[in-house]
Symmetry: none
Subunit: 195 residues, 4 copies
DNA sequence: GATGAATGAGGGTTCATTCAT
DNA sequence: TATGAATGAACCCTCATTCAT
């Protein structure tokens, strides 16, 4: 019963955040969306904060799982980089619902140590995945770090814009924009090499 | 008296958001930080929401003023682009306090029509300033639009990371990263031209 | 549970109005009198206004119920008129508590559309009951209307005075006063007939 | 200056009560209507309660003045009774504004000792004026008292209904109703006398 | 395991009152 | 005499949390 209820409540939390915003996401609204009583939240989670933390962990785990799957199927360093980018911009995850949930959590990061910790882990994972693949492509350490950071920042910026609806590019252009950034930097590297 | 009190309260609002986060920014906390009574907020602003809106408008106006000043001093299209970038990454404004306030407001955008409207205006201004300057450099319309969007997304991503402390680049590297993005695209354009 | 709590709160509201007056009837006072927490008001009624409306409806329903019962037991038009008068002046309802609650609601009628609506219905019911019975006694329509209005006004005046304690007649004299008014008008009619 | 300001504020208080109801009659609204600052109320009256008391006193004094004038012009006991009735139903005073102010004050009577005292004086004056005139017409003491009380109750009931708009008779019918009550009782007395 | 009635702290807001000017 | 900026207590209401069932 427990895993079912926990998932129900986490899904309902994401839905509630998207629908009403973080500030108006109340325990009753979440439980109403989940079709259960309000007391259940404290039964399966310690309280509202624990549910929120679990929700962030859950959507983070989803992203990680997808990235891991794609990485496993990749057969070259370049494909490994694309795996990371693609999983971040996968239209199935790059939805208004997901994106506004992320934004809501992000806004709590500066003042919530618990969420900040999780957020840091997520970011570092993306970064290290990118750096790792770049290093395999013979990109020098310091350079790999810079490119990975640029890619990470672009991805974050795209997610942010996606939360504002209409003011960001569609998933396809978003992908092109990030790939373009990567390509131009790799091209640049190749031109330098002979020198 | 009015302009003084309004500024006091707006400054206190930014400070409160930075210190406690958007959700825990209460009228009493704001007024305590401003060193005035809680009733004063409703005297000078209609209520909490109006104060929040005024605060977003104020920090947006500050950014616009700085951009306008820099644009006025620019003597070439390239300098105009740099003016926009520099004012967005000016270390004086690129502070944890300012940046977490922005993030807090951003998180309200998906569910607050009032704030969304202001946010849209701010974004569009940055975008059109960039596009305008790029067009003056003979960049084709569609291309100018894409580069401007890329720059805007990078800037947003950088602000977002700045709010997470430590996980973003320092102001100097941030500037380099954005300039680098611009340069590589302009270089690319020049290579295409002869062809 | 719901009907019990609702009744508790409605009774407490009447008591609070009697004790402190309408203006000083706060939600906390009501809930304290009812022996429950303040939050409960919003759980069982939407808010304070809804509780107040429900309270007026409840005391109006009580009056109507009593009138209906008496009307059912009446076996002549004259007894039907007495039924209406008696139920309005029944010592059990003609108490300081009940009477000051009515006055409090009356004072809100000129500025509260919700309460005005209910008040209008109550008044019309008394009036039409009286007119109906008078018509059965062969009193001409226009005359019946006038007598009924006079009776209604007397009843209202008596309730008003009852709220001022001491300055009104005791229930018994009140009853005599109203019956006397009715009798003299009926007598008058009989004298006219032969003419 | 003082008498001018006091009158301004008292008039504004009556207007505010009529317009917004007793509960929403705030000091700022009153002073706004009077065209003066809010602080002035505490300068000329001790506070809000004192202003309210002064307002009740003022409208009571107005009624008394009018009654006194009419009584002075009356040349027979019967005219003296009519004087009292007429001044209570004078269309100039029997207005929605005046009437809703009275009702508002009445509703405070059960819980305000200060206002109750004034109210008691007003009622007693009307009563004693009526009794006095009836005694001059040779009506036995106990009978005069009863008739005067009936008249007083009718007048109160009429004022109450006037506050409910539409549900009461027009000033003319109101007058007829009260005079009719008086006449039928006097006639009755004459019939008894010979017996 | 699950409910939802009940609590009460804390939120935004209003407003009578004070007081420096 | 007159102002209106400023206060802070008290209002209604929301909601995370508890707990008897």
């Amino acid at each position: 019963m427990e895993p079912i209820r926990r998932r129900q409540l986490i899904d309902a939390t994401v839905a509630a955040i998207h629908e009403h915003g973080f500030a108006d996401t109340t325990v009753s609204r979440i439980s109403a969306l989940a079709g259960v009583s309000s007391g259940i939240v404290h039964h399966y989670f310690g309280g509202k904060d624990d549910l929120l933390e679990a929700t962030l962990r859950a959507i983070a785990a989803e992203l990680r799982r997808d990235t891991t799957d794609r990485l496993a199927r990749a057969s070259s360093p370049r494909e490994r980089i694309d795996a990371v980018i693609d999983s971040n911009l996968d239209p199935e995850r790059f939805t208004p619902t997901a994106v506004s949930a992320w934004l809501a959590f992000w806004s709590q990061v500066p003042t919530s140590a618990r969420l900040a910790r999780i957020q840091r882990i997520i970011m570092r994972r993306v970064h290290s995945n990118l750096v790792h693949a770049l290093r395999q492509m013979q990109v020098p350490s310091e350079r790999a770090d810079r490119i990975a950071m640029g890619l990470g920042i672009l991805l974050d910026g795209l997610w942010l814009r996606a939360a504002f609806e209409e003011s960001g590019p569609d998933p396809k252009s978003a992908l092109a924009l990030v790939r373009d950034y990567l390509d131009s930097h790799l091209r640049e590297l190749r031109h330098e090499e002979p020198a």
